[in-house]
C-alpha cells in the first residue's frame, strides 16, 4: 500500500514539476513543491466552492446572497455534491502526499500542552522539536480526514434520498452539518494562521518558498532536516548580527546628527 502511494506521489511530483517550477533564492528554503501546491489549491478551491454552495442551502439568511453565485438555487443544489466530490478526491491526493510529514509523534504531545503559549505569542520561537508541520496543523489535517469521510458518506446518502430512505436521511442531514461546523471552525483558524497571524507563510503555498528566518522560527526541526544546520545557532548568529548592525547604524546616525548640528551652528556666510 505505502509503496504504491509513494510511487503515485513520485509520479505526480514528476508530472507537475514539468509544468511548473519553484525558484529558491538565497536566504530561502523550498517549502512546498509544485505538486503539493497544486493539490492544496485544488482542495482549497473546491472546499470554498462547496462551503459557499453548502451555506446557501444551509441557512435562509445566506440563501439569497450565495445561491446567485452559482446561477440559482436549483443549480447550487446541483453543483454542491460535485464540488464536494472533487474536494474529497483532491484531498485524497493530499492525504497520500502528506502521510509521512503528518505522522503524529512525541513532540506533538508536548506541543499540545503548550498550546496556550503558542496562541498568545508568549513564545516567539517554536520549540526545537517542531518539524515540518506542528501538532495544530496535524490536528487540522486529521479533522479534515474525519470530516471528509463523514461528508462523503452522508453526502452520497443525501444525493439519492429515494434509495436510502427517511431514517438515513435524518441522520445524514445532522452529521453532514456537524462535520461542516467542525470544518468551519478549523477553516477560519487555518486561514488566519496562514495569512495575518504568521507573516511569510502564505508565500509557501504560492511561490513555494519561505525564508530561512521563517523556517527556524516556526519549524526548527524541519529547518535542521533540510539544511543540516542548527536552527538555534543560526538564529543566535542572525540575532547577534542584527544587534551589531543596529549598533553600527545607531553610531552612524549619531555621527550624522553631530555633523548636521555643526553646519547649522555656523553663521550664514555672505550671499
Amino acid at each position: 500500500m505505502s509503496a504504491e502511494v509513494e510511487r503515485l506521489n513520485e509520479r505526480m511530483h514528476r508530472a507537475t514539476s514539468r509544468m511548473g517550477r519553484t525558484v529558491v533564492h538565497a536566504g530561502e528554503l523550498l517549502r512546498h513543491s509544485v505538486y503539493t501546491r497544486v493539490v492544496h489549491w485544488a482542495v482549497a478551491i473546491f472546499f470554498i466552492l462547496a462551503l459557499l454552495s453548502g451555506f446557501a442551502i444551509f441557512t435562509p439568511w445566506l440563501y439569497a446572497w450565495l445561491a446567485p453565485l452559482f446561477g440559482s438555487g436549483p443549480r447550487t443544489r446541483l453543483l454542491h455534491p460535485w464540488f464536494g466530490l472533487i474536494f474529497c478526491a483532491a484531498f485524497l491526493l493530499m492525504l497520500f502526499n502528506w502521510l509521512q510529514p503528518m505522522n503524529w509523534n512525541e513532540s506533538d504531545r508536548r506541543w499540545l500542552r503548550r498550546m496556550r503559549e503558542y496562541a498568545t505569542n508568549e513564545e516567539k520561537m517554536e520549540p526545537e522539536d517542531v518539524g515540518k508541520f506542528n501538532a495544530g496543523q496535524k490536528l487540522w489535517f486529521r479533522a479534515i480526514v474525519v470530516a471528509a469521510i463523514v461528508f462523503l458518506i452522508t453526502g452520497f446518502i443525501m444525493w439519492w434520498p429515494e434509495i436510502f430512505g427517511r431514517v438515513l436521511m435524518w441522520i445524514s442531514y445532522f452529521l453532514h452539518d456537524v462535520a461542516a461546523l467542525v470544518m468551519l471552525g478549523g477553516f477560519i483558524i487555518h486561514i488566519y494562521e496562514g495569512t495575518a497571524q504568521q507573516p511569510g507563510t502564505f508565500r509557501a503555498m504560492t511561490r513555494g518558498t519561505v525564508t530561512d528566518r521563517w523556517a527556524w522560527t516556526h519549524h526548527p526541526a524541519w529547518y535542521r532536516e533540510v539544511t543540516g544546520r542548527d536552527p538555534r545557532a543560526d538564529y543566535e548568529r542572525a540575532a547577534q548580527r542584527q544587534e551589531e548592525r543596529q549598533r553600527m547604524l545607531a553610531a552612524w546616525e549619531r555621527e550624522q546628527d553631530a555633523r548636521e548640528r555643526q553646519t547649522e551652528s555656523r553663521p550664514p556666510g555672505p550671499a
Binding site: 442551502i57 444551509f58 441557512t59 435562509p60 439568511w61 440563501y63 439569497a64 438555487g73 436549483p74 447550487t76 443544489r77 446541483l78 496562541a119 498568545t120 505569542n121 516567539k124 520561537m125 443525501m158 434520498p161 429515494e162 427517511r166 436521511m169 435524518w170 441522520i171 442531514y173 445532522f174 452539518d177 456537524v178 461542516a180 461546523l181 468551519l184 471552525g185 477560519i188 483558524i189 488566519y192 495575518a196 497571524q197 504568521q198 507573516p199 511569510g200 525564508t211 528566518r213 521563517w214 527556524w216 522560527t217 516556526h218 538564529y235 542572525a238 540575532a239 542584527q242 544587534e243 543596529q246
Partner: protein, 303 residues
Amino acid sequence: MLDTERTLQIKAISGHPGSVPGSHAKREVEVAKYIDVTTCIGCKACEVACVEWNDHPFRETTFDNTYQTMPNTEWNYYNLIRFNEHQRDDGTLQWLMRKDQCMHCADPGCLRACPADGAIVQYTNGIVDFNQENCIGCQYCVSGCPFNIPKFNQATKKVYKCTLCSDRVGQGLEPACIKSCPTGCLHFGTKEEMKAMAEGRARQLREHSGFANAGVWDPPSIQGTHVIYVLHDITKPELYGGLPAEPHIPVVYTWWKFALKPLSLLTVFLGMFAVFFHYIFYGPKRAQPEPPVIEEESHVSRS
C-alpha cells in the same frame, strides 16, 4: 408569484429570513377537508378528478392484488384511495378505504425542512402549497413529512404534492376531489364547521351504528391538520394504510433547524470575531529575529 398568492394570504414561507409579507393583513378562515371513511365506496372518482383538474397524464401502475390504483401517491398522482382488508377479532372482515393525500398540517414538517426561500408556503387558510419555481430539488421535505407525501420528479428535479386545489379555493371553489364525490363522504368548508360535522358523524357512528370507537382524526401532535378523517376505530388509525396515530416531525429536524444551524452561524461569527481580535490583542508572530522592540504598551503608559 403564485396565482394563489393573489387570492390567499400567506402565513409561513419556507427558507425565508425575516417577516412574512402581508401576513394576517386580511381575515381568512381556516379551511379543511373532512373525509368520512365510513361512507367511502372506493369508486376513485376523486382520483380521476384530481388527475383531470391538475392536467396530469395517467401513469402506469403496478397491480398488488388489491383495488388500490398504485402502491403510493406519486408526483403526478396526489390523491390515492388506500384499500385495506382488516380481519376483526370476531373473525369478520372489514374493508377499509381511506383517501390518502397531503394532510396540510398546521405545523408542516416539509416547510420546516425546506431550505429554499419560498418553495413551500403556508396560507392562513391552512393550505400548504409547493411553489415549484422556487424548489431546488433537495428533497429535504420528503423526509421531513410525517406522512411521506411529497414526491420527487426525476425529470424536472422538483417535488410535487396535493395543493388542496389552492387555485380553486382561492376563487371560492371547493377542491376537485370534493366536487366529484358521489356518496358525500368528502366535505369541504371551514375547519370549525368540518370539525363539528365530523364530531357529529362520529357520535352517530358510536351511538347508532355500533362503532363504539368511532372518532375524529385531527392529530394534535402536529397542531392539527386541514384534512380530517372520521374513522370507524380511532384507536387504530394504522389499519387504514398506515395512518399514524401521533404523527411527528422527526425530532432531528428540530435540533438541526433550531440548534445546529444557529450554532454554526454563531461559530462563523464568533470565529471571525475571535481571530480578528486575536490579531488586535496579540498581533502577528513574526520570523525571528524581529526588529528590536523600542517601546511596549503596558498598564502604566497608555497612548
